[in-house]
Amino acid sequence: MINYHENGIKASDYEYSGDREALIALKKIPVIDKLLSAYLDFTIKSGMFVQVQQNCFRVTKETYPRVYELYQICLNRLNMKQEPSLYIDLNYEYNAYATGIGSPFIVVNSSMVDDCTDGELMALMGHELGHINSSHVLYHNLARNLMVLLTSHLKALAPLISTGTVFALFDWQRKSEYTADRAGMIAAGGLQPSVDLMLRLMGKGEVQKYVDLSLDTAMKQYQDFNISKDSFIGKFLYVTQTAAMGHPWSIQRIKALSDWSKTENYAGVVSEIQRLESAEG
């Protein structure tokens, strides 16, 4: 059960700066909010949601007690107004996604539920809740639809403008992932589970027998990453590869989380959550 607090934390308290600015600009475009959200809400409800309902198990207290319990903690820590439905998809790949506009829902692949620790799973579910909380879903879809439009029909009219707009949308999408990562960290209750989740997605898997991974080793690798893109060719490859990516590079996400964990902004969010949790006993 969600305990929403009117004065509790809001998405704007932890949103990544570039993400927030871009979102404000997007929200100012007339018609988008109403027209596009109505259109997307209809298409997602009649297409994707029907498929998910047919093929995936919905998480409830009875079906997946462990996941349900962890999900409730995430919802409360992020002070969510509504509880998006959560589904588990039988799938080996490590993945999860949030979608839906009026009635958003989250799908987590079964391999993540099987393999992740409680903390990692909370970081994952918090990440997806972060996308919903910041209205990313609507604008991610807008970005995707605009990209198709710009790269097909409008490209012939104004190729430079189209290409520029597409890359700008990708740039915003990457920033929105940093916001969602922060939400994941808040939901998981600290930096370590979020880093562990990122390392798992990078390949940590179940190989602890051979590989000992930590934030320190990730930070050393971040230095290698910076060196690898330091040369002229490296910079060129980095920029061209990054420009069309919807997610930042994993090692950059770990670094961004680590940096944010040391800020006053993060400390303030944590203390607000702790205040409310202790008030509730």
Binding site: G205, V207, T217, D224, K229, Y238
Partner: protein, 260 residues
């Protein structure tokens, strides 16, 4: 003890293909230059940003496996090693002068330790033998052969044939390294069935199955040739038979005697 020389484990077709490439003047230098300034830089960014780099500090045992193999095969410098999430039992090697090894997580999760040591050693054997150059040529052909004024198949079919033969070399290298025929045979079949079932399949049964495959003739034999033509990896039964023939021919013993 002498190092294991590539001559002792290279499959003849594999060795001939590499010799032919090496005879083309300046080609090796050109390929190394292109590789250094393209895929080696490209993959360096991708790998360091998205996969986990394994070092002697964070993966001492695994790193030691590679060090042991490098010593045995006489490879002076150990490549960079990365780990990625993947369910196929495989590793990939990219780059020519600065190769990088990419290991799938399932390799570490499922393959027993004593077998893993031998499984990984074939990466080092391949690098030492010069497979990197051939892999890079294949990569170039896969991506750019369409733009050449000759049919793509003129280049891709022989390279696919070579690619299949390099796996025969890997099996021989594993044997030269481990001296354990049963283990090499088990590694060939790894992934065909859950590990506990694979443990119960005897080497004789594997060879018998390979013999039955070999005996397929008539129309099926033509189909077999056509189906394998587009494969980059030989079918396991083909590997089992080729490997067994090599042992039975006495070539393994000759290679071993030359080494010691």
């Amino acid at each position: 003890m002498k190092v294991i020389s590539p001559e002792s484990y290279l499959f003849p077709g594999d060795e001939e293909a590499m010799e032919a490439i090496n005879k083309i003047p300046q080609l090796s230098k050109v390929l190394a230059f292109i590789s250094k300034n393209s895929i080696e830089k490209f993959y360096s960014i991708i790998f360091s940003s998205s996969y986990i780099k394994l070092t002697s500090a964070n993966a001492p045992k695994l790193y030691h496996f590679y060090e042991e193999a490098a010593e045995a095969f006489g490879l002076d410098q150990l490549p960079e090693i990365y780990l990625r999430r993947g369910y196929q039992y495989k590793t990939d090697v990219v780059g020519i002068d600065n190769p990088m090894i990419l290991i799938n997580t399932s390799v570490l999760e499922d393959i027993p330790e004593e077998m893993l040591r031998v499984f990984l050693a074939s990466d080092i054997a391949g690098i030492k033998a010069g497979h990197n150059k051939m892999n890079f040529i294949r990569l170039l052909c896969d991506n750019f052969a369409d733009s050449l004024p000759i049919p793509k198949q003129v280049l891709t079919v022989p390279l696919l044939m070579w690619s299949k033969q390099k796996y025969y070399s890997y099996d021989r290298a594993r044997m030269m390294y481990s001296h354990d025929k049963d283990m090499v045979l088990r590694l060939i079949g790894y992934g065909e069935a859950p590990p506990d079932i694979m443990e119960r399949v005897t080497p004789d049964e594997r060879i018998q199955q390979g013999m039955e495959f070999l005996e397929i003739d008539g129309v099926q034999s033509i189909a077999k040739s056509i189906l394998t033509m587009s494969e980059a990896k030989p079918w396991n039964s083909m590997r089992v038979i080729e490997f067994n023939n090599w042992i039975e021919s006495g070539m393994y013993k000759i290679g071993l005697e030359e080494r010691i």
